[in-house]
Symmetry: C2
Subunit: 276 residues, 2 copies
Amino acid sequence: MARHRSVFFVSDSTAITAETLGQSLLTQFEHIPFDPVTLPFIDSLDKAAEVVRQIDAATKGKGVRPLVFSTLINPRIREVLKESTGVFFDFIGTFLPLVESELKTQSSHTVGRYHGMVSDTQYSVRIDAVNYALGHDDGISTKNFEEADVILVGVSRTGKTPTCIYLGLQFGIYAANYPVTEEDFTQKDKRIYSLISPYMEKIFGLTINPERLHKIRSERRPGSRYASLGQCRLEIAMCESFFISEDIPFLNITSMSIEEIAATIMHAHKLPRRVV
Amino acid sequence: MARHRSVFFVSDSTAITAETLGQSLLTQFEHIPFDPVTLPFIDSLDKAAEVVRQIDAATKGKGVRPLVFSTLINPRIREVLKESTGVFFDFIGTFLPLVESELKTQSSHTVGRYHGMVSDTQYSVRIDAVNYALGHDDGISTKNFEEADVILVGVSRTGKTPTCIYLGLQFGIYAANYPVTEEDFTQKDKRIYSLISPYMEKIFGLTINPERLHKIRSERRPGSRYASLGQCRLEIAMCESFFISEDIPFLNITSMSIEEIAATIMHAHKLPRRVV
């Protein structure tokens, strides 16, 4: 068995960037068990000294050097951390001088700029976009589809709600969604056509493999008609035919993460990033 | 005026890590106007060649070399990108060999591992946690506070809902919230004490400066008593006294981002990360 490795994500701010960068490297080593510790807000020499003690204790305890992923901005705090027994991966120290040299200017070395409070406006944009997603969840209010940047359409349990929320939080995108049901196609008036047709250029379809949908729905309502494989197959077939006949771009999300679905939609509809 | 710089975030997957890396560096140069372009899913030599054309066109158009932040995993695709006229910041090429050498093993060089679909379980954990946040928003259902990892308490418009959703999406944390109103303190039974007291160790308080709250509430309900500075002052004073008398840890979120609030709560309550 592989030896457990301690990993520290250290930052003067939230440590989100340190975690993101560190994890993107660690996920390339799936056979090694890592024990991660996140240490945000390390913004003084005293706190840095305490982190060094913690890293050194991990080295002693496990008999192997921890990996330390740092996005520390303050050069003095970074110097303290470099004295630990851990292996120091210095994202800012590695790249910031290269960017400075290309831009021919000194950076501001301001802590907490990214993932920090950029402005009241950016904060409001995100909150408004999340509230929009919540208020336009599951077709509650189709009358405000005009305001939407994108409208996700798909049968129940295809990831529409979390994707809409993610688009709001991450990018400030106004994402509404419309849950397709069997009735949309069997009712005489075929209401889905009239509801959606004015907004065709905003529509993005989500679909999923019937077996996976059956599994997801069965966790919520075991044994129900709603969760049955037959019903899942029927709804998906109707919905996919609809996407194809109406020329709606769509995505099979069966083995996709929320981030992948969102990135695909942003890219396909060329949506603007309203928050950085 | 500073010259605009094109910036490209290029990835074989979602480009979230490339954006995170690049933006964390670019936010250190607040006086330079950047024109960012995100190019996810660059997973073939043909797509890479197209990106090179796009970068070279930007160089020609602006008369200055674009910055290119890459998290490309595939070494052959990276080699193609390096031939562009942009300044290439190679995150994986810089750090992955260092991690491999320390771990004394080759990495899997698998595209899309991070921010990709890790497992059905991790997907479900996030979705369940988001649904939990939505189902326990604004005190709708205090009876399920037992299941909560953390319960955010604060007056209306202190960022409770977006923070709960963020904690669910990002970390798989079950976060409920309880909106404090004037009645919680003026009613005879002081219901907040009985509702919250069984869960004291899970409670985290959010507060805000009255002037900022007045501004936020005025955008929603201009001229209302709810939005008046007097009412904002009253509610905040009552709520903060409550936090202090009950020894509840609390945070003033006036100039904090959702990420900072979430990171502070995770750290303060030592909450486990359920998703990577």
